[in-house]
């Protein structure tokens, strides 16, 4: 193998593959390194891919990419022990090209996507772990891989090495995570016949649903559950905030089983066959966990940079990864024209991101972390809302109460007006205005 490239991209997930593809198309010599046997082997998400950014790079990508279902129905469900209360939105508009989002299987999708970088001219080398950065004159100048004679040099290294990004730490661009900056998610892929999925989830043809759940986890544990429909399977999982796992010391796979056995969830999974179990961390900390994004000869992209928007309403990551991969590539192309790979030149990356939806959205929702860490959001409110609905819809031969007195009766002793007011204000600041 050649020992000097224009660019080395570490990690062939969506961020790395995007950067490699755009750079190779611009005529640069790109080495794309992946630790798995194939790109996507180590990757997992919920999940949905919101592909509008991808469509700019690979027009009509859904015609060739291994996508599962286009998401036309979004459901947010609150769970109490025995009840559920859902907001359910469905539109045929999300079923029209260029589509709002797709469910995908990452081990297939990422493999396809990295191949686009290869077609553009990037050299993909798999089964290769990067252990360290190489430095020349105080600048990153390459990587040391865990292979014989594994040192490879480049003008720029793009670290797209995922949520754990050891390279961002090696470059001293990031400190250790705080436990509230990342969450852990587990997921099972549960096989069901296509026709069952469509009738059970009110879908026709290739339509799909994303369903997120609040509540329903073991006592004290905060996070949520999810169900996404694939062609012939469901992705079913839970996500947990680390600091809240200490209350009852319940493992997350127990939480997954509890979620799956909730009566409203169980009915959706009935007769399904579990095909695979997986786990992954999610960098949910947003701006609070964002590392410094560049140094001389190096940029950080995707999960490695904490580029995920997870605030309850939006759960986006792959689109952020792709946008950051584009920005990283543009930065390197501009740097090559000037022949300047210094930190000052790499700073251009930050500027591009500031002007894109990526940092705009992370800034806009910077209060979301406080909002989603609120314990009342995860247990008290789902419980009370389910109780209120039960009371409201009960017909028992007695005269009905109007909503306000019922509301007062149920909320009394559970949560104070002062807390409700504070939470509404916090939710508003985080999400609404």
């Amino acid at each position: 193998m050649k020992h000097k490239f224009d660019v080395i991209v570490v990690g062939a997930g969506p961020a790395g593959a995007t950067a490699a593809m755009v750079l190779a198309k611009s005529g640069l010599e790109v080495l794309l390194l992946e630790r798995g046997k194939y790109p996507g082997e180590k990757n997992m998400f919920g999940g949905a891919l919101f592909g509008r950014v991808l469509n700019d790079l690979v027009p009509n990508y859904w015609e060739e990419a291994p996508v599962e279902r286009y998401i036309t129905r979004k459901v947010i469900t609150m769970l109490s022990a025995d009840s559920s209360f859902s907001f359910d939105f469905k539109t045929t508009k999300f079923g029209e090209a260029p589509y709002n989002g797709f469910s995908v299987n990452r081990s297939r999708f990422d493999r396809w996507y990295a191949q686009k970088a290869v077609e553009a001219g990037a050299l993909l080398v798999t089964e290769t772990v990067v252990d360290d950065l190489l430095w020349v004159d105080g600048r990153v100048a390459g990587v040391r891989t865990r292979r014989d004679q594994g040192e490879v040099y480049a003008d720029v290294v793009i670290a797209a090495d995922g949520v754990n990004s050891l390279l961002a730490q090696k470059a001293k661009l990031r400190k250790n995570f705080l436990p509230n900056h990342v969450t852990v998610g587990v997921k099972e892929v549960i096989q069901l016949p296509k026709a069952t999925i469509e009738s059970r989830f009110n879908l026709s043809g290739a339509e799909g649903v994303s369903n997120e759940f609040l509540g329903g986890l073991p006592g004290g544990m905060q996070g949520g559950g999810f169900i996404y429909t694939n062609k012939e399977s469901l992705s079913v999982g839970v996500v947990a905030q680390f600091p809240t796992m200490h209350a009852q010391r319940v493992p997350i796979y127990e939480a997954l089983e509890q979620f799956k056995s909730h009566p409203s969830v169980q009915a959706l999974l009935k007769d399904g066959v579990v095909k695979e179990y997986s786990a992954h961390m999610i960098p949910e900390g947003g701006l609070e966990m964002m590392p410094k994004l560049y140094t001389g000869g190096m940029l950080i992209a995707g999960d490695a940079a904490g580029f995920v928007l997870a605030n309850g309403l939006y759960l986006e990551g792959v689109n952020f990864a792709i946008a950051s991969g584009i920005a990283a590539a543009q930065t390197v192309v501009a740097a090559k024209e000037k022949g300047d790979y210094s930190s000052g030149s790499m700073q251009h990356y930050q500027q591009i991101l500031e002007e894109s939806f990526l940092l705009k959205d992370l800034r806009k929702y910077k209060h979301a972390l406080t909002f989603i860490e609120n314990p009342r959001l995860h247990t008290t409110y789902p419980d009370l809302i389910c109780q209120l609905a039960e009371k409201l819809f009960t017909v028992d031969g007695r005269s009905h109460q109007k909503i306000m007195p019922q509301f007062r009766e149920i909320f009394q002793g559970q949560v104070s007006w002062r807390e409700v007011f504070k939470d509404v204000k916090e939710a508003g600041r985080a999400m609404i205005w």
Binding site: R35, G36, K37, V189, V250, I252, Y253, E276, M281
Partner: protein, 91 residues
């Protein structure tokens, strides 16, 4: 009670002969929480009846949870050698 082994049995691994995560168990003796034992989604960390920590890397899902919750400096975390470790096919 869920048996984690039932879940791990569904997953394909190519187990490397050497452990990619090293745990300094001397540091676990006085750990007040041993959070790794319930936070690891693969159940790689367990405790013996006399309180000793056990760690088995073979079922590791390479998520990084243990390095986030260990505040004793006991977890020397890394990826397995290229091409080894967990191999997701359906997710």
């Amino acid at each position: 009670m869920v048996v984690i082994e039932d879940k791990l049995n569904l997953i394909r691994y190519r187990v490397s002969p050497e452990a990619h995560i090293k745990v300094d168990k001397n540091r676990c003796v006085n750990c007040p929480h041993q959070a790794c034992t319930y936070v690891c989604p693969a159940g790689c960390y367990s405790k013996t009846d006399d309180g000793q920590l056990l760690f088995a890397y073979e079922g590791c899902l390479e998520c990084g949870s243990c390095r986030v919750v260990c505040d004793q400096g006991a977890v020397d975390w890394n990826y397995p050698r290229g091409g080894y470790g967990v191999s997701f096919r359906f997710v």
